[in-house]
């Protein structure tokens, strides 16, 4: 009786991890991790890529088995061998990439895996009632009969949350939930999370965005190199301290930047229209220019035509209409290779920017391999290529310093630094930069941002596409917002604020508002 009474005084933590270790071959992803997540709180877990956050949560959700250690759910040891066990224990997970069937309705998606019987009728009726109840209690309004693929991304995420709640989740794990959301959608998500907390549910938020940690969490745990390095009450910490804990040294979150002094026009885009491989018009008549000595940022939620615009300017995708002029000359079409004077850090570095299984030195000449410095008429100048690459590894602090190591063996940040090194070292007049810091650790972000600003200051033009609004705000001198294949607004850096750009990203222009 007395033990029970005490348990009520100090409720058991929702999740407690004791000494969790997990190895993948020689890599130690989690090293004796201890973590206590109190019931009814929003608990953030931050860390750089590869710090082991997602591995840890995948252990909790039963995708992986820990090599050592125990998981306690609500005070009881709970062996979780498969996701089914986690669901049974009241744990739900919302993945970074949604696990929804696009062609199904909301109701059908939520029923998926919990049909309960040969015919769907009873299950559907039960779920519809449950959905209605959850909508009333939590303010999670979704039309149960809408097809998922017709819904905006933010609403699809709500469906994922509802799916977990309908399975009786008392503990909800969200893995990088805001990656695909506009700032407004993210705020709406945070509102929902607060409502869930008020209902005594527990939320675990995995993210690398410190802004979100500060905005919504009660407590935050920091991981670095597979270890849990600090636990803080959010109210008692700061972005700077968290960044320092994540990286292990002091970091500068925003690069030093003087006002831009734009010079001559380097890039002119006139009425550009791009149709993708499936025949969908992705860029619908875009015109703008970029001048020497400025960084033009293109903000927008992923999938609004920025990628296709960048590819068309790079000569990778032929536009169906309009023209691209580089320093006044019409830029050549894709078959003739990349135009001279154009550098390009592509959005998807492992698919396009690098050949994963080829050595760093061979990647160092990708796109420039026909230059006489790198190849004679037939043979590659291997020794020179190797030496050049070794020099870059040194100057850009790319580790390990091994030009013969395949690109895939480098960490995300080091891979990206290799791409940036290659594109900067060939002295472009215009540098196209797509998502330069996606999946890149804070230390490398700091370095890459500083290099991009230095390139601008040396009088080059930069066109930056990023879905990270923070990044655009930190770097760009002029911000263009893309929505549905069009540029819906332009904001000068000094007048830019998150709210205004966020509205534009959602397609709400000043006239409409």
């Amino acid at each position: 009786m007395s033990a029970r009474g005490q348990a009520r005084l100090v409720p058991a933590p929702a999740i407690e991890l004791r000494g969790i270790s997990k190895r993948f071959g020689p890599v130690v992803a989690n090293d004796r991790v201890d973590l206590v997540i109190e019931a009814g709180t929003i608990h953030g877990i931050v860390g750089e890529n590869g710090a082991g956050k997602t591995t840890l949560m995948n252990i909790v959700y039963g995708y992986y088995q820990a090599d050592e250690g125990t998981v306690l759910v609500e005070g009881r040891p709970c062996p979780i061998a498969r996701p089914v066990d986690a669901i049974r224990a009241g744990i739900g997970m919302v993945h970074q990439h949604f696990m929804l069937v696009g062609a199904f309705t909301v109701l059908e998606n939520i029923l998926l895996g919990a049909e309960g019987g040969m015919t769907l009728r009873d299950g559907l009726r039960r779920m519809r009632a449950e959905l209605g109840r959850l909508a009333r209690e939590h303010g999670l309004e979704v039309d149960p009969d809408a097809r998922v693929e017709d819904l905006p991304v933010g609403v699809q995420q709500r469906v994922e949350i509802l799916k977990a709640l309908c399975r009786g989740a008392r503990i909800l794990i969200l893995d990088e939930p805001t990656g695909v959301l506009t700032p407004q959608e993210a705020d709406e998500l945070f509102r929902i999370l607060r409502v869930l907390r008020a209902q005594r549910r527990t939320i675990v938020l995995i993210t690398h965005k410190l802004r979100e940690i500060m905005a919504v969490t009660d407590r935050v745990s920091v991981m670095r190199g597979g270890r849990m390095v600090a636990h803080r009450a959010t109210a008692e910490t700061s972005r700077e301290e968290l960044a320092e804990l994540m990286v292990g040294r002091r970091v500068q979150l925003r690069p030093d930047k003087r006002a831009a002094r734009p010079g001559r026009t380097v890039l002119e885009v006139r009425d550009l229209e791009v149709i993708d491989d499936r025949g969908v018009r992705r860029v619908k008549g875009v015109s703008f220019e970029a001048r020497a000595g400025e960084i033009v940022g293109i903000a927008g939620v992923a999938g609004n035509g920025q990628s296709e615009l960048l590819e068309a300017i790079a000569g990778i995708r032929a536009p169906s209409r309009g023209e691209v002029r580089l320093s006044g000359r019409a830029s050549p079409r894709s078959a003739e290779g990349r135009p001279g004077g154009l550098g390009h850090v592509p959005e998807d570095r492992l698919r396009m920017g690098l050949v994963a299984t080829m050595a760093a030195a061979e990647n160092a000449i990708l796109g420039y391999h026909r230059r006489p410095a790198y190849s004679a008429r037939f043979l590659l100048r291997r020794r020179y290529i190797h030496a050049t690459c070794a020099g870059w590894l040194e100057r850009y602090d790319i580790r390990p310093r091994a030009p013969t190591l395949p690109a895939i063996a480098f960490s995300g940040g080091n891979q990206q630094k290799l791409v940036v090194a290659r594109e900067l070292e060939h002295d472009p007049d215009l540098l196209l930069v797509g998502q330069p810091t996606r999946g890149v650790d804070i230390g490398a972000i700091e370095f890459i941002h500083a290099r991009l600003v230095a390139l601008r200051d040396s009088g080059k033009a930069l066109l930056l596409v990023s879905v990270e609004l923070d990044e655009i705000l930190a770097l760009a001198d002029r911000i263009l917002v893309m929505f549905d294949g069009r540029i819906v607004g332009e904001v000068a850096a000094e007048e830019a604020d998150e709210r205004r750009i966020g509205l534009l990203m959602a397609g709400i222009t000043a006239e409409a508002a």
């Binding site: 071959g25 020689p26 290779g337 390009h344 061979e362 026909r370 043979l379 590659l380 063996a409």
Partner: protein
């Protein structure tokens, strides 16, 4: 240097294939026991049949030469990201190319005749492979499918040509007239006899040197040359190639042409080196075994030469085995080949993962 998955190169190139081979031979030994023969005696007989006396060595080298050509052909296409299953047909057409030179140009000095015939073989083999290459570049047709279909076309075409057009007049046997002696490649036996090496009456000939030269050229082309670099980029990541201004279509056609040309050279060994006339079915399945050779040799010329030697020995030793052990038929040798392909290809990860953990352990210790 370490490979992608973190295994040292010697493990990747020597230990792993060795273990796979051992496992295949163990299972093959079990099969030998099942049919009621002594597996140790069978292995001894096989080795003797392949290397035990001069003429056996000669035959082993002759078959090895075939496998080097077809193995290199598969590997080259593989580096460009394609699986060329059509070595058989390309080699067959190579025979046509060389026969057309030999039958039409007639008596020339050997120093002119042989290079011309070799070029004919490479040209026709390459041209036969251009079709799948072009179909892929143009229409995205899968090379595996088109090369297989081209094998059937080659077979039908060659049967028609040899039976109806090129046949030696006034006979029933489907084969052409014997080529002029200028086109006969020098056998190795008389060349090596002064050094006390006796290859007997084996058909091993100068093609072996051509095969080794092709292996060296292969390595230089693939890893040291600019076109080879472009070829590997396309093979490993087409988006990266397009990003780098490399046209995948052009590179694919080049790779398939060279691949087909290498396969076509099989005809040089078989016809200029041994048959001295175009016969039906001289390709004998070597084109297909080339897939296994490339697989086992990890698409590297050194590995391919070693794997070709292994398959050459199996071919030669296997026929001796079938001759001396009545319960073991020629098909048994095919079973052993199949087991090697199974263990070296489909089951290659069986030993890879344990080896990785085994070799990784010391690294995590400190």
């Amino acid at each position: 240097m370490r490979t992608v998955r973190g295994l040292p190169l010697w493990v990747e190139l020597v230990l792993l294939p060795g273990l796979n081979l051992l496992a295949a031979l163990l299972v093959a030994g079990l099969v030998v026991v099942l049919v009621g023969e002594d597996p140790i005696a069978a292995v001894a007989l096989l080795l003797y049949g392949a290397f035990g006396y001069g003429e056996a060595v000669g035959y082993t080298l002759f078959y090895t030469t075939n496998f080097v050509f077809t193995g290199l052909a598969v590997a080259l296409a593989f580096h460009a990201g394609h699986f060329n299953i059509g070595g058989e047909g390309q080699a067959y057409l190579g025979g046509l190319g060389l026969a057309l030179v030999a039958l039409n140009l007639g008596d020339l000095p050997g120093a002119v005749a042989v290079p011309l015939a070799v070029a004919g073989a490479a040209l026709f083999g390459g041209a036969w492979a251009v079709v799948p290459g072009w179909l892929y570049a143009r229409r995205g047709s899968h090379v595996v499918i088109t090369t297989i279909m081209m094998n059937f076309l080659a077979s039908a075409l060659m049967t028609y040509l040899v039976v109806n057009v090129l046949i030696k007049p006034g006979q029933q046997i489907p084969e052409t007239d014997i080529f002029a002696e200028a086109y006969w490649l020098l056998p190795l036996a008389p060349l090596l006899a002064p050094f006390g090496i006796d290859l007997g009456r084996s058909p091993a000939n100068l093609s072996l040197l051509l095969a080794l030269a092709c292996s060296v050229a292969f390595a230089i082309f693939v890893w040291q040359s600019r076109p080879g670099y472009e070829l590997r980029v396309v093979g490993r990541s087409e988006p990266a190639a397009i990003y780098a201004g490399i046209a995948p279509a052009r590179v694919t056609i080049l790779a398939m042409t060279l691949s087909g040309a290498l396969a076509g050279l099989l005809a040089v060994n078989e016809i200029l080196g041994s048959q001295h006339r175009l016969v039906l079915g001289f390709t004998g399945g070597y084109g297909f075994v080339g897939i296994a050779v490339a697989l086992m040799g990890r698409n590297h010329p050194v590995g391919i030469v070693l794997a070709a030697l292994l398959f050459g020995a199996l071919y030669q030793g296997g026929s001796e085995l079938a001759f001396d052990m009545p319960k073991i038929s020629r098909d048994m040798v095919v079973v052993i080949q199949g087991l090697i392909i199974l263990f070296a290809g489909a089951l290659e990860h069986m030993f890879r993962t344990p080896l990785e953990t085994l070799l990784a352990r010391p690294a995590t210790g400190h």
